[in-house]
Symmetry: C2
Subunit: 316 residues, 2 copies
C-alpha cells in the first residue's frame, strides 16, 4: 500500500503549476513549497502538472527544477516527477550504462514491475533512447550475467494465478540437482527463473523447500562473495517477496558508512505509491527503529523532508 | 499491400451473420456463401462478425464452422476467422507443441510481425493458454535452437529508422569473424540478430556485404543440411526481406511432391492483408507462373476457392 499523503482537497492543476512557478521565482527557491506539492501528488496528478506546466510556461518542469535545485534533493524531485514508465526506462538506462556485476537494479525493475508496466517502460525506453532496453542490456553485459539479465528484462510473463503442481515438482527437482552440482547458470535454472509466472515460481520454490528442507536462497549462498549468486538471490527475492527485497536495500543504504543516497532515493520514489507501507513495517520489525527515524538520522535538509513526505511523514 | 477484395459496399454485420447462419442451415452447407463473406472481409470486419454472431446465435462462429466444415477448407476458414493476434498465438502454440529443428514458424512470427503486434499476440497467448509464449518456447526447445528462439520471441525491438553506422561497422566485423570461425551460435551473433532494430541489422548486413563481398546468408550456407544454419538464414530473411521469405515458403509448399497445405494456408491467411501483393509479384518473377495459377493447379474445391479469394482472385 501507498504511503503517499495526497491532500483530501487537491488544488486544480493550474494552481499547482502557478505555485511551482512562484517557488522558482524571485530570490532563492521555495523548497518547502515544491515538496508540499510534488511530494503529495500521485503519478497521474504529477503527469498532469508536468503537462500543464509546459503548456503554461513553455518550459519542461524537469528543466525548471534542474535549474533551481541541486544534489540529492534535485535527484529525488526529478525522479519523482518522471512518469513511472519513463522513470523505469531512465533508471534501467543508467544501470546498463554503468553496469557492474554488483548492480542489481535491472533485476529489481524486471522482477518487481508487472509485465504490463514493463511493456510501458520498454516503450518509454524506445521513445527516449531511440534503442531497445534489450539491446542495451545485451550489449553492456557479458557471460552468465547477460544470460540471466537479457531474458529477465525481455520475457512477458504470464500473470495468472494458475499453478501446475506436477510441473512445480519436476522443476523443483531440476533446481535442486543443478544447484547441488553448482551449475547455477545452466540453461534450466535460467529458464525457470526468467520465464515461469510468479505464481508458478512460488509453487516451485515451496516444493523445493519441502524437498530440501531450506529456502533456495540459502543454497544460493554457497559462496557469499560470488556476485552472480547474489544476483540470483535478488531475482528470487524480487519475484516472490519484493517488499522484503526493498526493505533490505533500504537497510543497507542507511546502515552504510556514508548513506547510499542513490538506493535510498530510488526505493522511496519507486515504491511510495506501491508497497512502501509494508516495506516500512518490515523495516521497523527488522531494525527495531521506524524507517522515518532512520532516514531522519541519516539525511538532512530538503532531501530529508522530501523523503519523509514520500513515506507519509507529513508535517501539516 | 493487401490482396483482399473487400466489396465497395460491405453489408451490415448483422446481415453477414444472418447469411452465415443460413449457410450452415438445412441440408448441406453453402460453402460458396461462406467464402464470399469470410474471404472478403478484413480483420476488423471479421472480428465484428464473430462478436455479433455469438451475440445473435449464442454460439461461437468458430464452433459453428468447426461443425460444418472439414479438412483443409475448414482450417483455412478457421484460421481466417481468428483475429490476427489470436491467430499468431494459436500458430505459435502449435509450433512449440510439435516443435522440430526444421520448424521455422516461430522465427517467421517473431521476425515478421511488428513489436506491437507481437505484444498483442503474447497477450492473446496468455488469455488462451494460461501461460506465456516465452515459457513454452523455452520449455520445448533445447541447445542452440533455444538460445536463438527464446530471445527472438521475447525482445521488444526498437522500430525507429535511426542507424548507427559505427556500430554497424563493428558488428559486421564481429559477425564476419564469428561466422568465419563457424561459431554460429555464439553470444554475439545471437545478440545482434535478436536485439538490434531491423534498420540497424539491415545496415550491419549491408556493411557485411561491402566488407566480405557476399550476402551473410551465403556464408550461413556452409553446411546446407545444418538445421540451425537454416534457422539463422530464415531469421535474417524474415528480418530484412520478409516478402522474399514468404515467396519461398509458398514456392516450396506448392512444388512439393504433395502440396504442404499447412504452409500454404498459413502464408496466404497471415499475409493476405499485409504484403501478399508483393509476394505474388515475387512468386511470378521467380516461378514464371502466376501464384493463382499455381495454387489452382495444386489444390481443388472449396479450399482452392478460399485461397484464391484471399489472394484477390475473385469471381463476381
Amino acid at each position: 500500500m501507498s504511503t503517499l499523503c495526497v491532500p483530501s482537497q487537491v488544488p486544480p492543476v493550474a494552481e499547482d503549476c502557478e505555485q511551482l512557478h512562484k517557488a522558482f521565482s524571485g530570490w532563492g527557491t521555495n523548497e518547502n513549497l515544491i515538496i508540499s506539492i510534488l511530494g503529495r501528488r500521485n503519478a497521474s496528478q504529477r503527469k498532469l502538472i508536468r503537462h500543464c506546466y509546459a503548456e503554461t510556461y513553455g518550459e519542461d518542469l524537469l528543466k525548471a527544477l534542474d535549474k533551481e535545485l541541486s544534489s540529492d534533493f534535485e535527484r529525488v524531485v526529478l525522479v519523482s516527477v518522471l512518469d513511472p514508465p519513463e522513470r523505469d526506462a531512465y533508471l534501467a538506462n543508467e544501470a546498463t550504462k554503468k553496469w557492474t556485476a554488483s548492480n542489481q537494479i535491472l533485476v529489481e525493475i524486471a522482477c518487481t514491475r508487472s509485465p504490463k508496466q514493463m511493456n510501458l517502460a520498454k516503450e518509454a525506453y524506445h521513445a527516449r533512447f531511440k534503442k531497445s532496453l534489450e539491446e542495451d542490456v545485451a550489449y553492456h553485459t557479458t557471460g552468465d550475467f547477460r544470460k540471466l539479465l537479457v531474458p529477465l528484462v525481455s520475457t512477458y510473463r504470464y500473470t495468472g494465478d494458475e499453478v501446475d503442481l506436477r510441473l512445480a515438482k519436476s522443476e523443483a527437482k531440476i533446481l535442486h540437482q543443478k544447484i547441488a552440482a553448482k551449475e547455477y547458470s545452466c540453461d534450466d535454472v535460467i529458464r525457470i527463473l526468467t520465464t515461469r509466472s510468479k505464481a508458478q515460481i512460488n509453487a516451485t520454490l515451496n516444493q523445493y523447500k519441502n524437498d530440501v528442507g531450506n529456502d533456495v536462497n540459502k543454497d544460493l549462498k554457497a559462496d557469499p562473495k560470488d556476485e552472480f549468486l547474489a544476483l540470483l538471490r535478488a531475482t528470487v527475492k524480487c519475484l516472490v517477496f519484493p517488499e522484503k527485497y526493498f526493505e533490505k536495500v533500504l537497510r543497507l543504504a542507511i546502515n552504510k558508512l556514508g548513506t547510499d543516497e542513490g538506493a535510498l532515493t530510488r526505493v522511496v520514489v519507486t515504491r511510495a505509491e506501491v508497497d512502501m507501507k509494508t516495506i516500512k513495517e518490515l523495516y521497523e520489525k527488522r531494525s527495531s527503529v521506524p524507517l522515518d527515524k532512520a532516514i531522519a538520522k541519516d539525511t538532512h535538509g530538503d532531501y530529508e523532508k522530501m523523503l519523509l513526505t514520500l513515506i507519509g511523514h507529513v508535517q501539516e
